[in-house]
Amino acid sequence: MMTPATLSELREAVLSAPRVLAVGAETKPRLSAVVGAEKICTRHLRGILEYEAAEFTFTALAGTPLSEVVSTLAEHGQYLPFDPMLVDAGSTLGGMVASGLSGPGRFRFGGVRDFILGVRFVDGRGRLMRLGGKVVKNAAGFDVPKFLVGSLGRFGAIGEVTFKVFPAPESQLTLKIPATEDTIATVGNSRWAPDAVDVLPGGEWLLVRLAGPGSALEGLAEEILNQFPGEIIGNTIWEDLREFRWATGSGLLVKTAITPDRVLEFPAAHVSCGGNVAYSPALPLTGLTLRGDTPLWIGGRNRFALEAAVKHALDPEGRFPTLDD
């Protein structure tokens, strides 16, 4: 496995073999389980390069562990509002972008795609390029940084990313109430402006997280508990969800984008983002395998001629695997 430590070494690594795939800590191992591709590990491509708290932005190398990002931001009272996943497991910033995995906080302000601002990446011809920008607002050129979110490293090797961040809320408060489709819609569309609405595996309980000034949250929580039976619980449950600690059984973990009316179809899953995504430990009808031996794309995927044309534009020699490999 190659372990470049600079962006020019990343470029050389991409050109060093006929077929390559950049990986981070491989916490979603199925995404990089490709036969015949030399792996380029980003673990030495590490470090926060620029962080201006007053700008609400930071730039870091792709192999920077999320734990380092999260703790550095926290020291300045800031955070990535979408709750990056698998932080303790060692996930990297680049891996988060390539996998497109957001956490429960995606519900309120958006996910990885909504906070990425810019990227430096190496295309299939070994060209190191910077697209997007480093400021919180930028409309110049095509939005390649967004395209790379969820692209599984199949269109380029990500070397460096710039993200927008937000000031962290003063406090958080977690409520546990019975889960029904109605409750999800009622709470999600309410005046309470919760920042996470998740169904626990088992399908019985709904977690509602409020965030903001502590004095205001108590009143809001009381009002919710007057309307639904339930209780206030500790915030540490979010760490368990973030690390998929509940998914210990089969070793299978599949991500499926859904709509809230389908929540009941996924009783064994952690349903996150207000009923918009299910992480299943059992085989669903459709989805992307994160862990396990099932096909990468369960139940097929959306296909169109443009995909091959874009692949050819960024990687004419097929140096990176395709989405089907």
Binding site: A54, E55, F56, G77, G100, R106, F109, G110, G111, D123, R127, L128, M129, R130, L131, G133, V135, V136, K137, N138, A139, A140, G141, F142, D143, V144, K146, F147, L148, V149, G150, S151, L152, P167, N189, R191, A193, G212, P213, A216, L217, A257, I258, T259, P260, D261, G274, G287, L288, R301, N302, F304, A305, L306, A309, V310, H312, A313, L314, L323
Partner: protein, 481 residues
């Protein structure tokens, strides 16, 4: 363009929906960037998605350039016609196909006007967040093509952050559907790549938008300052406090004078800059944060602070702000709007240098900007009847853009490159990066028929023939962001 291609085109639509007479084409010759004007060969007015697909495929067959157009409010010349090409005007595809208040989504056709989405959602306690100043007339199709912004981007992002799904016809004739009604997705973000393509990839036929719950409570404050610098310092203090306001806007003295003249906006006496800060959220949260914000602003030495006491006063504050651009038309026969971005901490420096350039060249510059985003909107005033005035104004605009890039910012925050800033794309991107974007463009449009001559430098420049306010602007129907 061969007559045969035009005749075949004429066979695709009833005659009253294919405009060919000069008098009919005149209204489509220009957009919000009034300095440019080109007469297209024809303007097609499709009424269905199938008709749009048929038109694009016809253009592909005959290698006929096309420009998709909504309400023509682009400030970068994005919907400027191509000589010898066809304008596909999408205003008749104006239906909201679906509004699901439980899932909080709306599926709309490209010709739906921005505010119509919020109007349709309001009875359910929802709204569509992106709010460009032209929102009462600009279309969602145009918003998607240019990834439009607005006053609330700091907290809620741009158009792209609210697009969940797109059905589009590409310039290859292929019809694609990406994303859908879920806020989550798997695989590459095709919707993200399409949004902001500036019409170079194809035409969106159906767009799925996320809707957000209306904030229960607002606290909007207008504060007047003796100097721009003091207003800028107040912004830094608000940001450093950990508050996340929905909007932070600044207007300078010249912009204030314009708004006063145009909509009789009332500002504190003797102020050189006005700051607008808006908090929103559940009433308990706003009640707490309001105390914090007011204390910060009081400590920033304003001449006067005016919190909006009710919804009407809040709307009045925003009316003054959103009318500022077109209001500047009262101060000067012509003006250029710039859209550069600088890192927020360098706002004060950027404004000082713009003021210096203004003094040096003797060209008046008004400033209205999204201070929270570092997104400047210098309005460069000139009189197009004076020989060389437009050229001098454009030169100043170019110097400002180069300054933004040198400070680590961008040449456009929300208006796009269009025809206006394409010569500056190379200031931000290397030749490899521009080549990469051109390859992506070719993947969507191998023959370069979709909005050619936009975004990328080096193509034939359309003739400069006219400057001044857009006719709709003169009529008070649209305003500029």
């Amino acid at each position: 363009m061969s007559t045969a291609a035009l005749e075949r085109l004429a066979g695709l639509l009833p005659p009253e929906r294919l405009l060919r007479r000069p008098v009919e084409l005149a209204a489509y010759e220009s957009d919000g960037l009034t300095a440019f004007r080109t007469r297209p060969l024809a303007v097609a007015l499709p009424e269905t998605e199938d008709e749009v697909v048929t038109l694009v495929r016809h253009c592909l067959e005959w290698k006929m350039p096309f420009v998709a157009r909504g309400s023509g409010t682009s400030l970068s010349g994005g919907s400027l016609p191509i000589a010898g090409g066809v304008v596909i005007a999408l205003n008749r595809l104006n239906r909201i196909l679906k509004l699901d208040p439980r899932q909080r989504i709306a599926v709309v056709q490209p010709g739906v006007v921005n505010t119509q989405v919020t109007q349709a959602a309001r009875p359910f306690g929802l709204h569509y967040a992106p709010d460009p100043s032209s929102q009462s007339i600009c279309t969602i199709g145009g918003n998607v093509a240019f990834n439009s912004g607005g006053a609330h981007c700091l907290k809620y992002g741009m158009t792209s952050n609210h697009v969940l799904g797109i059905k589009a016809v590409l310039a290859t004739g292929e019809v694609v559907s990406w994303g859908g009604q879920s806020r989550e997705s798997t695989g590459p973000d095709w919707c993200g790549l399409f949004t902001g393509n500036e019409g170079l990839f194809g035409i969106a036929l159906e767009i799925t938008l996320q809707l957000l719950p209306l904030a229960e409570c607002f606290h909007t404050v207008l504060a007047g300052y003796r100097t721009l610098e003091e207003a800028g310092d107040a912004v830094s203090a608000v940001i450093a406090s950990g508050l996340l306001p929905g909007a932070i806007e600044i207007m300078d003295a010249l912009a204030l004078a314009a708004a006063q003249a145009a909509v009789h906006a009332d500002y504190p006496e003797g102020c050189e800059a006005v700051l607008i800060v808006e908090l929103e959220g559940p009433r308990e949260v706003v009640a707490f944060e309001r105390g914090k914000l007011d204390a910060i602003l009081e400590a920033s030495h304003p001449i006067e602070m005016r919190p909006a006491r009710d919804a009407e006063e809040r709307l009045a504050i925003w009316k003054g702000r959103k009318s500022a651009f077109s209001a500047v038309g009262r101060l000067s026969p012509d003006f250029i709007v710039q859209d550069g971005v600088v890192p927020r901490r360098r706002l004060g420096e950027a404004l000082r240098r713009i003021a210096e350039m203004s003094r040096e060249t003797g060209i008046r510059v008004a400033n209205v900007f999204h201070a929270g985003d570092g997104n400047l909107h210098p309005l460069i005033l000139f009189d197009g009847r004076e020989s060389g005035a437009l050229h001098r104004a454009e030169e100043l605009a170019g110097r400002i853009l180069k300054m933004c890039v040198a400070m680590g910012g961008s040449i456009t925050g929300e208006h796009g490159i269009g025809v206006e800033k394409r010569e500056f794309l190379g200031e931000m991107f290397t030749s490899d990066e521009i080549d990469c974007m051109q390859r992506l463009r070719s993947a969507h449009d191998p023959f370069g028929i979709a909005n050619p001559g936009k975004m990328f430098p080096g193509k034939e420049a359309p003739a400069l023939s006219h400057v001044g306010l857009h006719p709709l602007e003169k009529a008070g129907l649209i305003s500029r962001e």
